[in-house]
Structure formats: C-alpha cells, structure tokens
C-alpha cells in the first residue's frame, strides 16, 4: 500500500448517508461518510459483504442516490443532478469496470468499446480512432472482431477497461474487477489499472475483497457496517491517503 499524492481532491464526500427499505424496515447502509479522494489516486475500498462499499461506489459513480450528504466530483455536486443530467454526467466523467465485465454478448470487442462513444458527437472515423487507441492500450488489437464468448475472462475484462477509458473519463470505478479472474489474469488487470493511474493520470476507485488486489492501490479504505474506518478499525481520517 503506497501513500496518497498531494493533488487536490477530485471527489469530495461530506456527511453521506444511505439506507434501504425492506418492507417496513429501514436498513442503514452508509452513515455520515466524509472523505476526499485526490485526483490521480488509486483507492481500494475494502470491507466485508454488506458493509456498503458497493453502495458507496455506486453513489460516487452517480448510479444511485444518497439520502443525505453531498458528493462533489470535479467540482460538481452530483447529488443535485436529475436522472437525465446524471446520465449525461456519467457518460462524460466516469468509466465503469465490473466484476462480470458486463459486455454486450451480441457486440464484438470493437463494438463494445464503441458503445459509450455513440452518445458523443464524434464522427464514425473519430470513434474508430478512439476505439483502436483504447484497444491498443489494453493490448487487444488482434481481437477487435471477437465476440465476448470468444474471449477469455481476462481478455473480456480488458475489453471492459477499454470501454471504460475510451471516452477519456477522469474517474474509473471498479467493482471487484478481479473477482471473476484467475490469479494470472487478475495480476494483468491490476497492472493495467496501475498503468492507467501512473501514465494517464486516471483516478481509480476500486471495491475489492482481495487483499492482493488492494495492495496494488495506493490507498486502502475500509468500510465496516457503513462507517469508514482505518485498518485498525478506528474511524478514518476524512482525507484519503493522509
């Protein structure tokens, strides 16, 4: 685990709370979370199942809504955005990497990577250029016409990473990105993510159970029953990496 950088925060979370309703019961998932993530950081969020780490990731990525508190990403308070505004914001600012890759089975690797660009004003040739660059970055230029079913798990995750970075978002969110991979493939994926941070200045927020995966991150944060803690279980400092 490395130390954090000294750049200004790209994500600022203040007094964030989230609960779910199950029948008449209200189940708190996140309670009064406050912390920042510096620009260009590689943060791992760890914690047992049900601790709220995926919920926190979803809130930061703008695919779920908080009950209370604010989340500012790149200076924008995303808790005030409507669903439509959030969709536009996500497509420009966040790249997603999922545990099960979430590729469209009927689209080739090239078409899967092209998908987010369809929402932009780019021309067909510009899209092609971006997609080829992204696939080159993940080392899959020889698999452009392959469908997901024709690729290994590691290759599918690399396509997913290419799709996440193709629109050049500032933040990448990864939910258990190595959870469905063997050790070798997982190592390759983590190296690739590390490269994205080091060479391309991306900010990565990764949820993981795997301590080996977390080691690749510069900062590890723990969630216990919806409360952010340090490794020793004490409430954490509000600044990631401090």
């Amino acid at each position: 685990m490395g130390m954090g950088n000294n750049k200004p925060p790209i994500v600022e979370i203040a007094h964030l709370s989230k609960s779910y309703r199950r029948g008449s019961q209200t189940i708190p998932v996140l309670e009064d979370i406050t912390f920042d993530i510096a620009d260009g950081e590689f943060l791992a969020l760890m914690g047992p199942s049900g601790s709220g780490k995926s919920t926190l990731l979803n809130l930061i990525a703008g695919i779920d809504k908080a009950d209370r508190g604010t989340i500012r990403v790149g200076g924008v308070d995303i808790t005030t955005l409507s669903d439509k505004e959030l969709a536009t914001w996500r497509s420009a600012n966040v790249g997603f990497i999922f545990q099960f890759y979430n590729l469209m089975p009927v689209l080739t690797a090239f078409e899967n990577v092209e998908l987010p660009l369809l929402l932009t004003d780019l021309s067909r040739s510009e899209r092609r250029e971006h997609v080829e660059l992204a696939l080159q970055l993940v080392g899959l230029t020889d698999r452009v016409d392959h469908y997901p079913a024709q690729l290994s798990g590691g290759q599918q995750q690399r396509v997913a990473i290419a799709r996440a970075v193709v629109s050049d978002p500032a933040i990448l969110v990864a939910d258990e990105p190595t959870g469905d991979l063997d050790r070798v493939s997982a190592g390759e994926i983590l190296q690739l993510m590390d490269r994205l941070v080091r060479e391309f200045d991306k900010t990565i927020i990764m949820v993981t159970h795997d301590p080996r995966a977390a080691e690749k991150a510069r900062i590890i944060r723990h969630l216990e029953k919806g409360i952010l803690t340090d490794i020793d279980g004490q409430p954490a400092s509000p600044v990631a990496g401090s």
């Binding site: 919920t55 979803n58 990525a61 695919i63 779920d64 439509k84 969709a87 536009t88 996500r90 497509s91 420009a92 997603f96 999922f98 545990q99 099960f100 979430n102 469209m104 089975p105 009927v106 689209l107 078409e111 092209e114 998908l115 987010p116 369809l118 929402l119 799709r163």
Partner: protein, 386 residues
Amino acid sequence: MMFLLKLIIRNAFRHKLRSILTVVGIAIAIIAFGLLSTLVGLWYHGVEASSASRLVTRNAISLIFPLPLSYKDRIRQVPGVKTVSYGNWFGGIYIDEKHFFANEAIEPKSFLELYPEFILTPEQKDAFLRDRKGCIVGKRLADTYGWKIGDLITLRGTIFPGQWEFVLRGIYRGAEKGTEERALFFHWDYLNETLRKTMPRRADQVGFYMITVERPELAAEVSQAVDAIFKNSLAETLTETEKAFQLGFVAMTEAILVAIQIVSYVVIVIIMVVAANTMAMTARERIAEYATMKTLGFGGWHIAGIVFGESLVIALSGGLLGVALTFPAAHWIEVELAQFFPAFSIAPLTIGLDLLAALAVGVTAGIFPTWRGATIGIAEGLRRIG
C-alpha cells in the same frame, strides 16, 4: 441509430431456437388469420360478384314456393326491364351428397344473355342451345371430375325425383377470376317437359325470375313495379337486387361466419400472449445489460427503443413470413379444394390486415418488457448479474 438497429436485430436472433419458434408461431397465426379472413370474404363472393343491373323475383312467401311461368310476359312488359330469364334450383346429387355443386334448370338463351360473365365458345353455345338434354358446366367443375364435351352426366334428383341424364355440350370459363365456375346449368324445358309427364301439377312453374334492367338506377323502381303487378294474387312476388338476394343466403349462415371471424381473432390473441411471454422472458434475462447501458449514459428511451424494436422485429419477421407463406397455402387450397371455393385469392386488404395483426402482436408483446427495461433502476439491474 444504425448501431442501435444492429443491436436490436442481433438481440432479436440471439436465442435462435426461441426466436425461430416464436417467429414460426406468429407466421402460422398470420397464415391462419389470412386464410380465415379470405374464407369470410368468400362468403360474400356471390354478393360481390352480383351485377347492379340484375334483379331476382321470387315468391314473396319463400324461395321454396314457385311462381307461374305466365308471369314472364307480364314482367317483360314492365318499363325499364331489358331481359327476363327464369330457372329452378334443381338440387341434384352427383355420385353422393359429398360431391356437392350447384345445378340449376335455366332458360338458356336469355340466361346466357343475362350472364355475359359465363363465356362459351360460339360452337359450344350453339350445341347447348340446340340440345334440350344438353348442359354446360364451369371449367373448374369439369376439371374436378375430368368431364369432356359429349360426356353423359347423371344427377339424382331430390326436389325433382328421378335419375336425370345430361349431355355435356359446353364448358364455360368465367370472365373474371372470381366468377363461379363450379355450377351446372341445363335446359328448363327439359325439366318442365319431364314434369308434365311425371308430375303435371308441378309443371309450368319456375323457382325464380332473373331480370336485367336498362340502367342500374332503375332497379328500385322496376322492383316495385313488378311486385305491384302481382299484389293480391295467389303467388305474390318479392323482387330485389341480385346483391340483396345473395345477402339473404349469407344471412342464413351468419352464425358460422361470426364463429370463423372469432376464431381468426382468437388465433391472434393466443399468439400475442405467447409472444408477450417470450419478450418478457427475454427482457428479464437482459435486465443487467439494460442497466449496464444506462450506466454508460444511455437513457430510458434508448432502452425502450431496443426492447420495443426487438419485439417488433420478431413480430414483423413472423408477419412477413406468414404473409409470404399465405400465398402458397391459398394456392394449395384453390387447387386441392377447388370444388368448394370459386377462387381462393388473397386480397390486398387481407395482406394489410395480416401485417396489422403482426404489428399488434409486436406492440402488445413489447409493452411490458419495454416499460420494465426503460424504468429499471441501475443499481437494481446490476444486482441481477452472476
């Protein structure tokens, strides 16, 4: 847009077996709907084929009661009447009841004048007019039984008992595809002369008069004038247009007609339910994909378009396949069941209804999955993975 269309089409045939079975199911339903609609249309064929300038005069009490032959000259004197012919429904049976076809005793000269749509060669026409025991049959009927000119055809009389023999003198063709070609006509005089010998009480009586008027707009006036002549007589008449006369027959079997129509709609409703189930199943399986697309920034309308488009692609594929197969199916019916139908042709309107039915199947089947896909929450949808 092209990309989404590509995605819709690929999604539609992702589960090949399921999609093919659904498409085939819809196609069969569309064929059934098209054929049943055509059958209902054929019920009205006689009505549609009737001429606006032809009238039919029958006994006012019922068609089964005859009219005196002497009415002929009095009808002819009514202003506006151009031609008068007459005839009797003979109802003879060829071989047995299963080999049904229409057979009528008619006054040949005026009849052929009244019905120019029955086309005979001049030689055959002359031969028919000259031979009192002669008969003519439609081409389809002749083909069905392999009859040739000069053949002897024997009918067993039911209304007029006995064995009746006719010599085939002509095979007529219809002027149009839908013209009735499955009937036999013979000399009314042959019937009448025989009746004079065997049942004199039934001689010199006709079942109906057929009248042509000089202009179609005179039809109502002439009808009233004819019926006025025989008012308060022993055999009062009812004169109506040929169309109204034919509609009377259709009305007798209206219950069957309604039943066929209901069946044709039920077929479509059943396939709607089947297709809706398929689409619901498909959408349920793809909820995570829809959520992923939403994550990437695609809106509810994009997802709605993809799901609804897929439903329409499957339904319209079935519809087009069904329409394409309806033609050979109709041709098969026309050839194999020639004795039952004058011409089993699929009308453009039926094709339009077929495609409309397929569209309705696609829309109905797509409504719920579209709503579900468009409104699913991203976090909820992503939880469906694995």
